[in-house]
């Protein structure tokens, strides 16, 4: 202990450190523009959000410290937030794992195709996520009158006699959001899986066959999955973050606010208080809770996924 403390304070160590920093000045210079923007628009806002969440703040008057009031109101006194929290968790628990699984399964199947076909299928699955607001076509598919495609098909084939108001009836809203979100969700993680599968060492499969691997499922479990672990971890981060932040689809399809808040999520609640009501203290409390929820889910899932194949 003594020697350690001594070493830390010794002038030689410190001057070495300073010399190290001086030597790296070109690196700092290269990093500076990004670092400044990153600190301003990502790190600082997280800290500010935490700070503002303990205040009452409406942008016009200076913020007033109110302790934990926002959090107490949020958790004990805001029924709409509880609905939003429930909806967010349902959406995340359904769309998160399902889209993660689909992204992997499709990538895995596509990987067996010949290059031209592979490129085509990749495009088919990836395109929805980069098509801007093309998801508005679902407004037409789930339109509440008999012209909506879903209603028309179900009535034509005799499953029902009168049209369903898919986007206005609280019983169906979540289902619609889930379907559209899944359609949109084969994004970055899907590409990561496609790329990861292509870079798995091909000789491993031959070696595996000699060692007694008999079918594609064993091959998947014993060879492919373990060699793709880094991409699997990256994909999980992307998928968790998106699935907990669902808002755009809900607002555009079922409205904002939706009937009986049936499509309300934490993010739409945040937008409601931040941009409509200008209660920034309360909005920050929502944001801080969401931040904690996202980070902790990510760390937890990472811990689990790291064990795959160990």
């Amino acid at each position: 202990m003594v020697t350690k403390a001594y070493a830390y304070n010794s002038p030689t160590k410190r001057s070495l450190w300073i010399r190290e920093i001086k030597k790296s000045r070109h690196y700092y210079a290269l990093m500076a523009p990004y670092a400044i923007l990153f600190l301003t628009f990502t790190v600082l806002p997280v800290i500010m959000s935490l700070g503002i969440s303990f205040t009452y703040f409406n942008l016009l008057e200076p913020p007033r410290y109110i302790g934990l009031d926002n959090y107490i109101k949020l958790l004990l006194d805001d029924d709409v937030f509880i609905i939003a929290l429930r909806n967010t968790l349902i959406l995340a628990v359904v769309t998160g794992p399902v889209s993660y699984l689909l992204a992997f399964v499709f990538a895995w199947l596509i990987n067996e195709l010949r290059p031209k076909m592979r490129a085509f299928m990749t495009l088919i699955f990836y395109a929805p996520s980069i098509s801007g607001n093309a998801f508005l076509i679902w407004l037409l598919i789930f339109s509440g009158d008999i012209h909506g495609y879903a209603n028309a098909i179900l009535i034509r084939f005799g499953f029902m006699t009168s049209p369903i108001l898919w986007l206005r009836n609280p019983d169906y809203m979540m289902m619609v959001i889930i379907i559209v979100q899944l359609w949109l969700s084969l994004g970055v993680s899907f590409l990561a899986f496609i790329a990861g599968l292509q870079s798995v060492d091909k000789t491993l499969f031959e070696a595996g066959a000699i060692d007694g691997i008999r079918n594609r499922w064993q091959e998947l479990w014993f060879i492919t999955l373990p060699s793709m672990k880094p991409q699997l971890l990256f994909g999980a981060v992307m998928q968790i973050t998106t699935s907990l932040a669902i808002a755009e689809v809900s607002m555009q399809l079922v409205g904002f606010p939706s009937v009986q808040y049936a499509g309300h999520t934490i993010v739409t609640h945040l937008i409601d208080y931040g941009s409509t009501r200008f209660d920034l203290g309360y909005a920050s409390a929502i944001a801080t809770l969401l931040f904690v929820l996202m980070i902790s889910t990510n760390l937890l899932v990472r811990k689990v996924l790291r064990k795959v194949g160990d």
Partner: protein, 294 residues
């Protein structure tokens, strides 16, 4: 292998089956793939073809995938609707173009400059900075929306395209992917350039940047889709600074009668990023093979 042998010649004429792949499994799994492929493609195909349908054909049942009478009415209606606004459509379009180009170019350049030292050198502060970047991937940008508004207002960027551009440049996914991709550049290349007397900056611009072109494309498409569809949010008030997506959204905000116009709008917004992806797909996928996390 055995399956292929037992089957009549016609079914197995193509080639011998791959290692550990049964024909029945192939058929089952690829049917699933085709089924979901149709599910994925159907809305996009409908969006594209609806843009060229007349209203009565739009609501026909069973819906025709390909219109019988191709019409440009929807685009005409669209241009009429935007023609009625006091800002010309080209002005909205110019605003979007400005935001998209400045944002993507700035992001590729600035994120790469930052990624290079992170990927290739050890220096004080490196690992803590990168840890911050990885953590920032774990929460959605909506979390920081409120304080971001305050910061942008403080800097005086409200009602300026830079209110959209600057935060986009700082997007951390691009930096992360660029850094991971740069890690595979051989150290010897950089070392030998150093021995030849090239400065760090010269090495970065003349050796490293040309080598990471695939990653540029990836950063471009990721940021492109974000900026291309931005509607200016609460940051841009002046009508003459609003981006095209805002104008289109106003138009599309009608009910079902506007379905044709919505389709025309969606079609325009969709074609650009999708075309870009088709052209650069193989290099984008290449970038992602280095995306892995530990």
């Amino acid at each position: 292998m055995t399956d292929a042998k037992r089957l009549p010649k016609i079914l197995s004429f193509k080639r011998t089956r791959k290692l550990n792949r049964s024909l029945s499994g192939d058929i089952a799994l690829f049917s699933v793939l085709v089924l979901f492929g149709l599910f994925s493609a159907f809305p996009l195909v409908m969006t594209a073809t609806n843009a060229f349908k007349s209203l009565d054909e739009l609501f026909l049942f069973p819906p025709r995938i390909f219109p019988r009478n191709i019409t440009f009415d929807n685009f005409r209606d669209l241009s009429e609707l935007v023609g009625n606004s006091w800002i010309t459509f080209s002005r909205y379009f110019f605003n979007t173009l400005l935001i998209t180009i400045l944002g993507t170019v700035g992001h590729v350049l600035i994120a790469s400059m930052c990624a290079y030292p992170l990927a290739k050198f050890k220096f004080p502060g490196r690992s803590i900075f990168f840890t911050f970047v990885v953590y920032s991937l774990m929460f959605a940008p909506q979390v920081t929306a409120t304080p971001n508004y305050i910061i942008i207002a403080r800097i005086g960027l409200i009602d300026s395209p830079f209110a959209i551009i600057l935060p986009a440049i700082a997007s951390s996914l691009g930096l992360y992917l660029m850094k991971q991709f740069m890690q595979q550049i051989p150290d010897e290349l950089i070392q030998s350039a150093k021995i030849d007397g090239a400065s760090e900056y010269r090495i970065f611009f003349q050796i490293v940047m040309p080598l990471v072109k695939p990653a540029w494309l990836t950063l471009i498409i990721l940021l492109f889709q974000r900026l291309w569809t931005t509607d200016g949010g609460s940051f841009i008030f002046s009508e003459e600074l609003k981006p095209v997506s805002y104008a289109l959204r106003q138009i599309a905000a009608g009910s079902i009668e506007r379905a044709g116009t919505i389709a025309a709008v969606s079609f325009i917004m969709m074609v650009v990023p999708v075309t870009f992806f088709i052209i650069s797909q193989s290099r984008i996928v290449e970038t992602f093979s280095h995306s892995g996390m530990k």
